[in-house]
Symmetry: C2
Subunit: 659 residues, 2 copies
């Protein structure tokens, strides 16, 4: 039975929860398919995550391999195809704890970078899992700077082979998933040398383990890189190559090839590769960045409606902690952000679908915008959502700190998204470089991509708002975000220009502006997110109840952003101190308004109890009972610790102690 404190929260919803779920899913049919997939996965005991918090790294790995293998069978059994409607929900339903994700990257890289012959040779056995692939790019000494990779591939014309080597310890491949213990093959990125000349980094297919008995192939040293903050289920690995010979045909050669005599040929456009990396960044946002924040909000908000602590007014019963303003101020902006990011993710996907169509027609014009968008939003969203999950964790006090709350593992996992697929600071500087260029172009009256046309609209001025209600007008706050984004791009571009004109070398000048360039990139992404949220709300006109609550969330997201970054808005007087007080007042008012619908707003995310895997966040709110039941399953309660016989008993019965 549902905890009455939680049940009462649901009786007063100002909107249809099911209707909002449908909006989030993008239509009732998607909701139906998603639920069907989730039901099938969760009914199958192999996919259970019940013991996840109690398992060792070895046990997690074993379970993940088991799930990956079982998933193949399941998909076959259910008729779920990789191009079918169910596919996008499978990973969400399995909740990440599955091996062989790099196998997919291995296949994708062959599909994209391989010739027709290579695709024909490798993809069918890979599809049938007759081999398991990985993707060996990152080295101990190089992550973000791919040009600096140190692994070598020297072409030997006499044998028509490439000889791969790890010339020094920093050149060791390090981090590739599925490589430490599972993979039989991998795509190795190495510096290509022919006749003593280096042609830069190229991809090579290398077998690393025997298909017969899984032993390491000659010249291969490989293993697991050990414990990490999360991803215990993945065998991130290391790989050293000593004179490993592979045939000439194993260099992925759609875009460049070494001919038998050693002639190096480059053909076609490399730009499409670039696009592949870009799309990965966008495709991970939903499952790896936004969903974890939605889950954390669900757990923390449900718990905060059940947890009662201290009294708001003397003589009353203890208050739900969600009724304290400070608790609302922690959680509700995260909830608003989860919605904002869900919608901006839709925007990004539309941007990419359009770009992809153009690219298929050999029009590469949108690549810079797509690259800048994928970089900036990946960085902004991962950083924001990571901070948000941490806030949710802390907001649950001691119980949030227990693994059984589900929050620590959400946090330690999402944290990685700030680092992988491009470290966030580097990515924001990519976006900033695009902004500085577009600002210069826009200032010179040249055309710029659609998402940055606003940069041409430089106009000093003041925010026209007169009272706190004016700040609930989207025109007012969108204009404020736009103004600030322009100011940061333009002032940093000006500083850069000044430095260069004063004689500082171009690269050094860039370095001296990077702290501010990062600010500019964030402000740009923040502006686009707010603007997109406003536009999304406008389109909900035929769903009055949902539109109203979404408008509140949009306002909250926008005003929280101004409140938390007040300096950026006050700096040039666009917002005055008095207006900042109005913003603060409206912002705090909104917390009280949204608090009433907080539980229905997280219910609409439609996570099952199993997918949350949280003793605090279940739909029924029976948190204390569940914490107790789950704790009893811990291995720490399954046996008398040897510590008693070895150390405690001698101590307690100690006759020698003279302390």
């Amino acid at each position: 039975s549902v905890n009455p404190d939680l049940a009462s929260e649901r009786q007063t919803a100002s909107f249809s929860v099911e209707g909002l779920t449908t909006v989030l899913d993008g239509g009732a049919e998607h909701t139906r398919v998603r639920r069907a997939v989730v039901e099938v996965i969760e009914r199958d005991p192999v996919f259970s995550r019940e013991n996840q918090y109690f398992q060792t790294q070895n046990e997690r790995y074993e379970a993940a391999v088991r799930k990956a293998v079982h998933l193949q069978k399941k998909m076959h059994e259910m008729g779920w195809r990789e191009d079918g409607p169910e596919f996008i929900y499978i990973y969400r339903a399995v909740a990440g704890d599955v091996a062989f994700l790099l196998h997919r990257v291995f296949m994708r890289s062959i599909s994209v970078l391989g010739s027709d012959e290579q695709v024909a040779k490798w993809i069918p056995p890979a599809t049938k899992h007759q081999l398991i692939g990985s993707y060996a790019q990152t080295e101990l000494g190089h992550g973000t700077y791919l040009q600096g990779l140190e692994t070598t591939a020297v072409f030997d014309t006499t044998t028509q082979e490439f000889i791969l080597n790890t010339p020094k310890i920093s050149a060791m491949k390090w981090w590739p998933g599925d490589m430490g213990r599972s993979a039989t093959h991998t795509v190795v990125f190495a510096q290509l040398y022919v006749h003593g000349k280096c042609y830069g980094v190229h991809p090579f297919i290398v077998q690393i383990r025997s298909l017969r008995d899984h032993s390491l192939c000659p010249g291969i040293t490989a293993g697991d890189i050990g414990p990490k903050m999360n991803f215990e289920h993945i065998d991130n690995g290391y790989l050293m190559l000593q004179n490993v010979r592979i045939p000439r045909e194993n260099m992925l050669n759609k875009f460049c090839e070494v001919e038998p005599d050693g002639t190096y040929i480059r053909r076609g456009s490399q730009k499409i590769n670039y696009f592949t990396m870009t799309t990965v960044r966008v495709s991970l946002l939903s499952d790896e960045v936004i969903l974890p924040l939605m889950k954390a909000c669900t757990i923390a908000i449900r718990y905060s409606a059940v947890r009662r602590q201290s009294k708001l007014n003397p003589g009353e019963e203890e208050a739900k902690i969600l009724d304290y303003q400070t608790q609302q101020e922690k959680l509700l902006p995260q909830l608003a952000a989860a919605y904002a990011f869900h919608f901006v993710n839709n925007y990004l996907h539309k941007l990419f679908d359009r770009g992809y169509k153009e690219i298929q027609e050999r029009n590469f014009n949108s690549l810079p915008e797509l690259h800048a968008s994928s970089s900036g939003f990946k960085a902004m969203l991962s950083q924001y959502c990571t901070a948000g999950v941490e806030i949710c964790l802390r907001a649950c006090g001691g119980h949030g700190y227990s693994l059984l709350s589900g929050l620590p593992s959400l946090y330690t996992k999402i944290l990685a998204s700030c680092i992988y697929e491009g470290e966030n600071t580097i990515l924001l500087l990519q976006t900033a470089r695009f902004l500085v260029k577009c600002f210069a172009a826009a200032s010179a009256g040249q055309p710029v991509p659609q998402s940055v046309t606003y940069l041409a609209a430089v106009k000093p001025g003041k925010c026209p708002a007169k009272n706190k209600l004016d700040f609930l007008n989207p025109d007012i706050y969108v204009e404020a975000y736009q103004h600030t984004a322009i100011r940061l791009s333009s002032s940093t571009a000006a500083k850069l220009q000044d430095l260069i004109q004063s004689g500082v070398k171009k690269h050094e000048a860039w370095n001296q502006c990077t702290v501010q360039l990062v600010q500019a990139a964030k402000a740009h992404c923040h502006y686009i997110t707010v603007k997109n949220f406003v536009e999304t709300v406008e389109k909900l006109e035929n769903k009055a109840g949902i539109q109203k609550i979404m408008k509140h969330l949009c306002d909250l997201f926008a005003l929280h952003g101004i409140f938390s970054n007040a300096g950026l808005f006050l700096h040039d007087g666009y917002i005055s101190g008095a207006q900042m007080d109005m913003i603060t007042a409206s912002y705090l008012d909104l917390l009280g308004v949204i608090r009433k619908d907080a539980v229905p707003l997280v219910d609409a995310f439609d996570f099952t109890d199993k997918s949350l895997n949280s003793a605090l966040g279940s739909y029924d709110g029976n948190v204390y009972q569940r914490l107790y039941e789950w704790a009893q399953k811990s291995p720490t309660n399954q046996q008398i610790s040897p510590a008693y016989e070895k150390y405690l008993r001698p101590l307690l019965h100690n006759k020698l102690s003279k302390l």
Copy 2:
């Protein structure tokens, strides 16, 4: 041999590293004692943390119990006494991984709350570890709000016993350390009932496990609460009591007693208890909050001087990542904060020593100030240092995410300090309540404690700085911090007053101001920290080199605080936008200045490699070699996973697969 990139950093130190270490330790004699303790502990293999990152929760617990027992022997052997000069360094040297810390709290609570008879009965066997104590205060349903505890202790006049019960699941004791598997006794906090009347929460000594065979005593249910984000080595436990009878003498009765006929007597002052809790908050700051940040800075800064990635200028070799402005902007403010907090911790200890002397003379006047200070600084420092450790972790990219970097465990452990010993938001509101009261008193011309006399100095105005160099004048920035702290306290006090005068109930009005009250409390602590740093630097006048670099760090800490909280300073125009640009320029300049001494500045913290336990942070900078060596020791590399035989081989040899 030391990595040449790290060696070169040390050749150019602008100050004496040993001299600075001595300053940090508070004198050469302290440095000598500390190093002697560290050497003894680290030479002893029982205290080794070599395998820490590979151990399960059960193994960590066993090792911690072993260490605790061994430590008793070691102290005896070395002649280290609890009141000796070595004692404060032992915990630091063991690096936290030791059991029975709650045994000390158990003993302290008996010493403070027990009668002379109780002390005489319990302290000698506890000192000899003939029993192991815990401290059972927190329940599943109640943490911060002690008045709400639900465990009951009913006095039975017929048997002269208290009958303890856990009336419902939320009343179960939950979290007490050393209780899940080790403790034989515990102090239980319960609501005292005599003749049906409740007298509030009181402490009772309860035996929970047999001294003979460690089995649970009748009526006791106890166990481990399961996995947590850290503290795997501690058996945080749960405890249920069913009609557990204890003699009347087991209620700790220095301050209140139940007489045989049930008469309840309260005597003496309870204030001193209050003071004990307050001192715990201050005493944990050094080991649990500031040292972890110092360690994280040491690891991240040494690594950043060794890690080379990408190029600052085309054609040059790859640059040390510490030479990138964005990396400096992540790490160097954390370094400055570590120094700032070390010095403010000294200030707090002096404040408490003075307060303690007064209290011994029965003068309790300083209690409110001490309580407000311990609350505010515990919250501010734990929050700041937790964020700082996370920044250091992220700044090390993928390798920072490996447990072998040492950073994840520093982070997951320090995060708990934001929650335990008072949740930070609650604590900041305690400080704010003190500030609001003092502001009212100061405004009315009444005397206020020394640390808040500044609140009387309300004066509108503008910052007089004319150029960026003016912001390196401590008078300028201390004044800015003071102005902002006053503004936040006074404006929130005014808002509170307005609400109450407009008819809002007092408690409701308080709740509506809490977001801003928290801001005010933080600003107060930030101001005191900056002011104290300035005063500390002034006192270093006879150490010119050290004074100079400390002045730079002090400037950096202060300007970073303004840069990161720009809105607070710009709000009323005390700092103008143009001045904020000057602050930004000076702040960024300082990064370049301090960067030159960054490695010597962390060397001065004087952590041994063993205490850092980090593959990235060792003194010699051989990071890649160490990562590789340590990874090979991982249990994931010690055996062929059963996953191969069970799942991988059937898959790879699969003839049925028709996918």
